[in-house]
């Protein structure tokens, strides 16, 4: 997915910081951000004083992110890449106060094994630590037929086509990117993604199978109550007491 397509899904580091603060995870705590994409959020959180390890399967994005780390926060921000099926790919002694798993990092395509991924993440959480997951909200897409949207970013016009299949829970997104030349639209590139969307119940089951206990559900970083009116589904979880 191109970085600018993800932009509407990205939350500002400030919202996350405020959210974590209220959870008792203050500046100075250790955060794991996986997958981190191009590292914009991780950089913001390191600037806010957190010690951040950020991992993504996209080596190109990680190489670019490493090159952009501001020197002032170089000692608090570490980027690494790892293959998707081994994420986060960190040594077993790396532990964190919070693990952020954001921008619909679960249900990515038919081959994604969410239980195995979440189980690997559970090995890196401290006993009182917190997992934060945000996903596209299945109930929002199931109850609102909005098959198309367009956005303009400078001279680029992005067309987004959406189709949700309620029998499989798969949201298919297709993007076409055009350059505006006068009033004409010159096609430049396109991409697509198939995302499996989960209900809160599905999500609780996945967490349960992977060494986590669901803690709370929200519709956004400002703790909006769970609702089909929000595009986002957020969940926090704690490590299950009895580690298998």
């Amino acid at each position: 997915m191109p970085a600018h397509a993800m932009r509407p899904l990205l939350e500002e580091a400030e919202n996350i910081r405020a959210f974590l603060q209220e959870e008792g995870i203050a500046s100075g705590a250790r955060l794991l951000d996986v997958p981190c994409g191009i590292g914009r959020r991780a950089t913001g959180l390191a600037e806010a004083g957190y010690e951040v390890v950020a991992v993504d399967p996209n080596e190109i994005a990680i190489a670019a992110a490493k090159g952009r780390v501001p020197p002032a926060i170089g000692d608090r921000l570490t980027f690494a890449s790892a293959p998707r099926e081994t994420l986060p790919g960190l040594p077993s002694n790396a532990t964190f106060d919070a693990v952020l798993c954001l921008d619909h990092a679960l249900g990515r395509g038919p081959g994604s094994d969410d239980v195995a991924f979440l189980r690997r993440l559970s090995k890196h959480i401290r006993p009182e630590g917190l997992l934060v997951v945000d996903l596209l909200n299945r109930d929002f897409f199931a109850s609102r037929q909005r098959p198309f949207a367009f956005h303009t970013i400078g001279s680029v016009e992005q067309h987004e086509f959406r189709s949700f299949d309620p029998t499989t829970g798969v949201l298919r997104l297709e993007w076409k990117f055009y350059e505006r030349v006068g009033a004409d639209l010159k096609h430049r590139t396109g991409s697509s993604a198939e995302l499996t969307l989960l209900t809160p119940r599905d999500l609780a089951a996945v967490l349960d199978q992977s060494g986590w206990k669901m803690n709370a559900l929200w519709s956004g970083w400002r703790r909006e109550p769970l609702s089909a009116d929000h595009r986002k589904l957020m969940v926090t979880a704690r490590p299950a007491r009895t580690s298998p």
Partner: protein, 262 residues
């Protein structure tokens, strides 16, 4: 109305674009006309009776009515659509029972001179009210009332404001033939006016070559608004439905169909 009104842009200055929209919808007319026939019969419009179809576009419904044996006069603002309606009526072998002419809804009785009180029924379909202001809509409904005989009916079929509010989708995309239509929508809740921008493109490989951009501004009505409007236009409301299938009105129905009696 000023020369710059969007109806003139879309129907007079660039009719080829909306002609493609009509052509794309042509095939849907068959089943819709059959549904409408049930409504005409329910309200005692006689077989072979006279029907005014305005605005008629390319005769998607009118020509089907003629095939059922009704005598149809269709009126549309666009000479391009009227010409195409005549061609299609001819092709379907019903030119003798379907007459198409150019005219403006606001002066409908002038377009169909000599037909005062001549029609058993009139139809206004596909959200063809609300293009001007409310007083103009009342005058348009009065124009239909001049042309329909006492006891005859008017069928108005338009988008349902309540549905639009409940299911508002700010952007739309349609593709038919090589034409792509992209819509940006805004609803002013205070005035019930849709303030849309329509862009039309022609596919050129993967590129979209721009044809036309036009604002589309029109008023959308809730069922109570529409019923009150019919009464002001000289009609008594006899029944309201969600659509062609005579399903009950609902805020979850995208459309509403109201039958008025003269």
């Amino acid at each position: 109305m000023s020369e710059g009104h969007w109806t003139e842009t879309l129907f007079l200055r660039h009719p080829e674009v909306f002609l493609a929209v009509h052509e794309n919808a042509w095939s849907t007319g068959e089943a819709q006309a059959k549904d409408l026939q049930r409504i005409l019969e329910r309200f005692h419009v006689p077989a072979g009776g006279r029907i005014l179809d305005a605005p008629c576009g390319i005769g998607r419904h009118g020509t089907r009515f003629a095939k059922m044996g009704y005598h149809v006069v269709g009126v549309d603002l666009s000479p391009t659509f009227v010409e195409r309606a005549r061609e299609l009526a001819d092709r379907e072998g019903v030119a003798a029972r379907a007459t198409y002419r150019v005219g403006d809804l606001r002066r409908l009785s002038e377009s169909v001179l000599g037909s005062i009180g001549a029609f058993d029924a009139a139809v206004n379909l596909w959200t063809s009210l609300g293009y001007y202001d409310e007083e103009t809509d009342v005058r348009i409904l009065q124009e239909y009332a001049k042309l329909v005989r006492p006891g005859g009916i008017l069928i108005v079929y338009i988008v349902n404001r309540d549905y639009v509010v409940r299911h508002f989708d700010p952007q739309g995309y349609e593709s038919f033939g090589d034409i792509v239509h992209i819509e940006q929508r805004h609803l002013d809740l205070a005035t019930s006016r849709m303030q849309n921008e329509w862009r039309f493109f022609r596919r050129n490989g993967e590129d979209l070559d721009h044809i036309l951009t036009t604002p589309i501004e029109h008023c959308i009505y809730s069922l109570h608004d529409l019923q009150r409007l019919l009464v002001r236009g000289g009609w008594s409301v006899v029944e309201a439905f969600g659509g062609f299938k005579m399903d009950p009105p609902s805020i979850d129905s995208p459309t509403q169909l109201v039958v008025g009696r003269r």
